[in-house]
Amino acid sequence: MRLLHRQKGAIPYMLLAPGMAWLLVFFVVPMWYLAKMSLSSGLFPLFNFGWAWGNFHDAISLYKPQFVRSGQYAAIATAIALVVSYPLAYWIAFRGGRWKNLFLLLVIAPFFVTYLIRTLAWQTILSDNGVIVKTLQHVGILGSDGRLLATSAAVIAGITYNFLPFMVLPLYVSLEQVDQRLIEAAEDLYASKPRAFMRVTLPLSLPGVFAGVLLTFIPAAGDFINAQLLGTPRQYMIGNVIQSEFLAVRDYPTAAALSFVLMAAILVLVLVFARILGTERLTVSHV
């Protein structure tokens, strides 16, 4: 009897084990390795650990513009994605009717094509000889030597496009869960439709806003594909720097230090953001 009891108590841990092992092998170990590397010095392929805090100082002071740019681009792209996605998710959740799943499928349809290929496609679409640039030049919105490619706008647009589904889906999920009867109750209590939205629907969808913003901002801040394919070194973000430090320059310690700074910066931003939205509101369920 006792033995059985003990075995029962162990089952949850046994179920947890694969997940924990996964985390250990694929998260904790690389982090440990990365942390050690960020405090090492030397030249490829021989790096020696030695509390080289100077790596962090160098990383920040040398690449400050790219850090700032990453933050700016990611923030702008996240904001645009939020503004575009909220009405879209709202419409699908409340007006989608029996076509809901089809609309959701359309939202994630781009994911059926590899990220890289999608961005390359945009390179072609926005290219100097492409239809869009030619048309815009023709109607005079762009000057005769005006371009779309290789601009900040192109990079931000690329990021927005690529990460849009990460914004739409959590928003959809949280809006879908909003009980329509609560909106009726608000209207019963003298709230017009816009007010009912502001007082009930919007606050109840904040968990989705929170999730969507994080899911968009975090990968956007670390992205390098869009800047590389749609921009020039003048649009390079911190992801481009890390990538080249790792793969081209092979200065692993600097690359590792940059990665840590980026992680820390994102973590701080996330905490501030969670504070602003209010953790209590985020944990309230919809039931």
């Binding site: 109750a185 608000a186 209590l189 007082r199």
Partner: protein, 354 residues
């Protein structure tokens, strides 16, 4: 002069093929406790939602006071609803839930606090203002829903089966409590329920509904003593219905040829096929009433306050309830009787209605 708070004029609501409410006309008297009573699907909720503004009638007009409200959105109607599911705002505290309507109407901060606290006191939730709905029991949530609606002092309060989710004991408590609150505040309440006992306990006026129509409207005693249709007679309590035909101004001839006497006026408006109705507790064992039936006991059930017999007569089976423990046993032959004043009459064409 009576004041009407709500008036429905030939209101019909059609959903695709379903006619949820069928040509309904009703005057709701001010300050009274109304119950809409009827089986599930008879159109009670739909009627309430049309009064609240959540559904528009397909045909007909709705008045609040002397103002037509057909076409007005809910937030422009001076009515509030206690929803079946409570529909409390999960992201707001109890205080803010109750304050919601007042804030939307721009009630001043100083007044608002007092009004909300007063309302929480009335529903017995003093000191719960800071909690979230999730931290309350079902009964307490119900009280918040009530306070949230009442604090706006609406012309009419609509309640859609608000006690349905509560357990029996709590439901009984809340029935009396709702009645007390209605009395205290003096607003018109329209309470939807499918529970006849609940309607009888609470309401001043009961509107019995069936298939989207009003079967009968009256105070509880009136409906119980003088149901006008077989539906009402069997929906409110138990009735014996004895089929016959009208044979005189106060006389009905049963199929067996036997004649039953009914009180003057009861047959007004009735001709042809009718049923004489008699409540089981109005039937006596023994032969001193004006109307007599002979029969044999086929069943006996002792339920504490009464003994319930089923007696087979040549006009069909008759239920008889006598107080306390009855001495008669199955198989026994006996005389039943009842007074003409206790009997009611319903038309049989209505009874046969599909």
């Amino acid at each position: 002069m009576t004041v009407h708070d709500v008036r429905l004029e030939n209101v019909t609501k059609q959903f695709a093929e379903v006619t949820a409410v069928d040509d309904m006309s009703l005057d709701v008297e001010s300050g009274k406790f109304y119950a809409f009573l009827g089986p599930s699907g008879c159109g009670k909720t739909t009627t309430l939602r049309m009064i609240g503004g959540f559904e528009e009638p397909t045909e007909g007009t709705i008045y609040l006071g002397d103002r037509t409200v057909t076409g007005l959105p809910p937030y422009k109607r001076d009515v509030n609803t206690v929803f079946q599911s409570y529909a409390l705002f999960p992201h707001l505290t109890v205080f803010e839930n109750v304050a919601f309507g007042l804030r939307r109407r721009g009630v001043k901060k100083q007044l608002l606090r007092g009004q909300v606290d007063e309302m929480l006191r009335i529903v017995g939730l003093e000191g719960y203002g800071g909690r979230r709905p999730k931290q309350l029991s079902g009964g307490q949530q119900q009280r918040v829903a009530l306070a949230r609606a009442l604090v706006n002092r609406p012309r009419v309060l609509l309640l859609d089966e608000p006690l349905g989710a509560l357990d029996l004991k709590l439901r009984k408590e809340m029935q009396l409590e709702l009645k007390r609150i209605q009395h205290e505040m003096g607003f018109t309440f329209i309470h939807v329920t499918h529970d006849q006992e609940e309607a009888m306990t609470m309401a001043d006026r009961i509107v019995v509904m069936n298939r989207g129509r009003i079967e009968q409207l009256g105070d509880p005693a009136e409906l119980y003593e003088r149901p006008r249709t077989a539906f009402v007679a069997s929906f409110l309590g138990v009735s014996n219905l004895l089929p016959g035909v009208v044979a005189g101004p106060e006389l009905v001839r049963l199929e067996s040829g036997q004649e039953l006497r009914v009180a003057a006026g009861v047959l007004n408006g009735h001709t042809g096929a009718v049923s004489v109705g008699i409540r089981p507790e109005k039937v006596r064992i023994g032969g001193d009433g004006a109307n007599r039936l002979a029969g044999q006991i086929v069943e006996r059930a002792y339920v504490g306050v009464s003994t319930q017999y089923v007696v087979k007569t040549d006009v069909g089976q008759v239920s008889v309830y006598v107080q306390g423990a009855g001495a008669h046993v199955p198989g026994e032959q006996l005389q039943l009787s009842f007074d003409p004043e206790s009997a009611f009459v319903v038309s049989r064409s209505e009874e046969d209605r599909p």
